[in-house]
Symmetry: C2
DNA sequence: CGAGGCATTGAGTCTGATCAATTTGAGTGG
DNA sequence: CCACTCAAATTGATCAGACTCAATGCCTCG
């Protein structure tokens, strides 16, 4: 039964558990619980007791840091096959919310910790992923602190194009690429540490410069990828 | 011989390796190499091949992200007993430089990886530390993106006071606390994503409000810790 | 005592936030 | 199929906070 569940898993090949043998997978599946969240629903609240870890199967989640007076910053976007949650933490550090409808494969934290300890390969992979997440967070610190509004928006566009291209096969920068933005202007602003208005103005500027084409609010075509990259200036 | 080295290690009790048995420590010490760096010297360069990991024994390091055109952001401060480097990464992600004279206990990356795989306890602890670093980076993202200059400086002052207090025993916020800033205005600006001038102006403002006293450029007394905390506003 | 790096202070500018008014567009129900 | 609704997005005008440029002051260490 449990192996059947994994057979249908859309991220079977890419999630952390892809390193497991069939037998190990049976053990893990034995205490996993699939859960669905609708867009806007919160998966875990900052400050709450940390009870679960999970793999994202479909949809997109945001990890949000907030001040006491309500200012918010998206500190990470979680895509399918990504891991969410923090083993060994008693308290949840940041609120995690579904940006779109999402499906998670959740594990009780304590059982997952036990599993990690008994399966060195998966623990090792989680370590590598966590370092990768750390590098991403640090790279974004540079973006947040030192790039101009225009540079921030250009960077995010390229990033989202790359993410979109991870599914469909991606062409180079010389060819026009069309894709749907996976988030609203408001979310883009929350990721980049700016306001909705400024994001919108920068997109308009890119449109006027004929670097991109906006077809409706959500669909973008990157006409001149090199020009867009030139507006980035980050390493 | 190797155990003697560790016996003199100033961070023996707090570094990653504190979880090891004497026998394990001998193995690890077998391929460690102690190295000294003078203030300003760079320990590893972003983009270079990743050859070492290390524990910091004394001094303070900075981890720096930079744009191609020279803008810089300090993405992490490394204190004694902290771990530096990235196992399993072929390339160094960020430049690491000594802020003060520093002593490192370095390990060749590949050997350290092998050691991790054979010693689950230490790998487990490294995982936990990496998650902690990730949480810190994410918390700082909020600071960089959403706090005002005044809030940023107040936060950093409290953080540095806490760090200073980790050595000497720290009093509560109601009592005045005096300590030396471990960095220049310039470094504070690099950490907070602002300019030297703005940092200086915010400190002057705090001095005028009699929240702090500045005795020379480097020594600070937090007179009214609660007022300082009140100027923070971050969660 | 002098030199040089840090730090402070001031004046002016500019980027991006704020406030406010439309416009667009997707979804709903008549 | 069209009008309606409501959220999202765009656009404009104004303002403030932080940056830039420039001058001066202050430690620290030869």
């Amino acid at each position: 039964m449990s192996t059947d569940i994994c057979a249908l898993c859309p991220v079977r090949e890419h999630a952390l558990c892809s390193c497991l043998s069939d037998e190990e997978r049976v053990v893990l599946a034995g205490f996993c619980q699939r859960r669905r969240f609708t867009a806007g629903e919160t998966v875990m609240w900052a400050g709450d007791e940390s009870r679960i870890c999970a793999n994202l199967q479909s949809g997109v989640l945001k990890v949000v840091a907030a001040t006491t007076d309500g200012r918010e910053q998206i500190v990470s976007l979680v895509y399918p096959a990504d891991f969410v949650g923090e083993p060994y933490a008693t308290e949840t550090a940041f609120t995690v919310t579904a940006l779109s409808d999402a499906e998670l494969c959740t594990f009780p934290r304590l059982l997952f910790e036990r599993f990690l300890e008994e399966h060195a390969r998966i623990e090792n992979l989680l370590l590598q992923r966590t370092f990768k997440a750390l590098n991403e967070a640090r790279a974004r610190m540079l973006t947040l602190a030192r790039l101009s509004a225009g540079e921030k928006v250009a960077s995010l566009l390229l990033e989202m194009a790359a993410q979109a291209g991870r599914c469909r096969c991606q062409l180079g920068l010389s060819e026009p690429v069309t894709f749907d933005l996976p988030m609203t202007r408001g979310h883009m602003a929350d990721v980049l540490g700016m306001t909705i208005e400024t994001v919108s103005r920068q997109l308009t500027k890119l449109k006027s410069a004929e670097v991109i084409v906006l077809s409706g609010a959500r669909t973008v075509t990157i006409v001149d990828g090199n020009a867009l990259k030139g507006r980035t200036m980050a390493a």
